[in-house]
């Protein structure tokens, strides 16, 4: 019943990805263990090569911090994988564990949280 953060933005187009992660980390610090749902273009945040440097804050490296902060409820919207033309293999190397959700499960997830923030 805590907070669900829905990640719908590409990593570097605007500050949404970073700003959402900042909220996730502070909620974790307050022991509110937020859930994260990656949806639509937000899945692009998961495809970054953590070795590749960027002039911007590196989203890929922040993902590595999830286990440290006990952020463990990570979900991926299954329908978005096709929509974003993503090769499922590329999601195997993620440094975090996640669950794939179909549309009914996404709806259920949303109903089971007290607050929802979309970024």
């Amino acid at each position: 019943m805590s907070t669900l953060i829905v990640m719908r933005s590409t990593p570097y187009g605007n500050t949404n990805a970073k700003d959402a992660l900042d909220i996730a980390l502070i909620l974790a610090t307050f022991e509110q263990s937020p859930s994260l749902l990656y949806q639509g273009a937000g899945l692009q945040q998961l495809l970054l090569d953590s070795q590749h440097t960027t002039p911007f804050k590196h989203i890929g490296n922040i993902l590595n911090a999830f286990p440290i902060y006990d952020i463990e409820q990570i979900y991926i919207d299954k329908a978005s994988i096709n929509e974003q033309n993503i090769n499922l293999d590329r999601l195997n190397d993620l440094p975090v564990e996640y669950k794939l959700l179909d549309t009914n499960q996404v709806t259920e997830l949303m109903h089971n949280h007290q607050h929802i923030m979309v970024f």
């Binding site: 907070t3 909220i23 502070i26 610090t29 007290q114 923030m117 979309v118």
Partner: protein, 138 residues
């Protein structure tokens, strides 16, 4: 006022004054909440929303001054208007303390607003029955 379920709200404003329609809706929704007797724990300005809190804004004649409208509502209702400090620093909104800390030589946070950490938002998600966001996409 009929007997009703009065709740504790947190409003998140993520759009700047340029998203004029969404920005005004956040204000009007907050007004309507107060008019119906609900409690507004805080209004949290995040992302572009922090631009609302600049006292150096001078909208053109005939344009809405959303900063002034929030200030008026704040005074009338002792509202807490929290401006995310990280987003504020990133966008050039500073109070006297931050201005001195970073030796900026000027400050521009409008009166009635205050800088606050993201912890205030985290606290609100615990304390509030409802968190309603305005300006989630642009």
């Amino acid at each position: 006022m009929p007997a009703m379920n009065l709740l504790n709200y947190c409003i998140i404003v993520r759009c700047g004054p340029d998203q004029q329609s969404q920005a005004l809706s956040a204000l009007e929704f907050t007004k309507a909440l107060l008019a119906q007797g609900h409690n507004v724990e805080r209004v949290f300005f995040y992302q572009q929303g922090v631009l609302t809190a600049s006292r150096l804004r001078t909208p053109a004649q005939g344009e809405l001054n959303i900063t002034k409208l929030w200030q008026k509502l704040q005074v009338e209702n002792k509202l807490e208007l929290d401006v995310c400090i990280a987003a504020a620093l990133h966008n050039g909104i500073v109070d006297k303390t931050e201005s001195e800390r970073y030796e900026l030589g000027a400050h521009n946070l409008a009166s009635g607003f205050q800088l606050a950490g993201l912890g205030q938002l985290a606290g609100a998600t615990i304390a509030c029955d409802r968190v309603v966001t305005f300006g989630a996409s642009q």
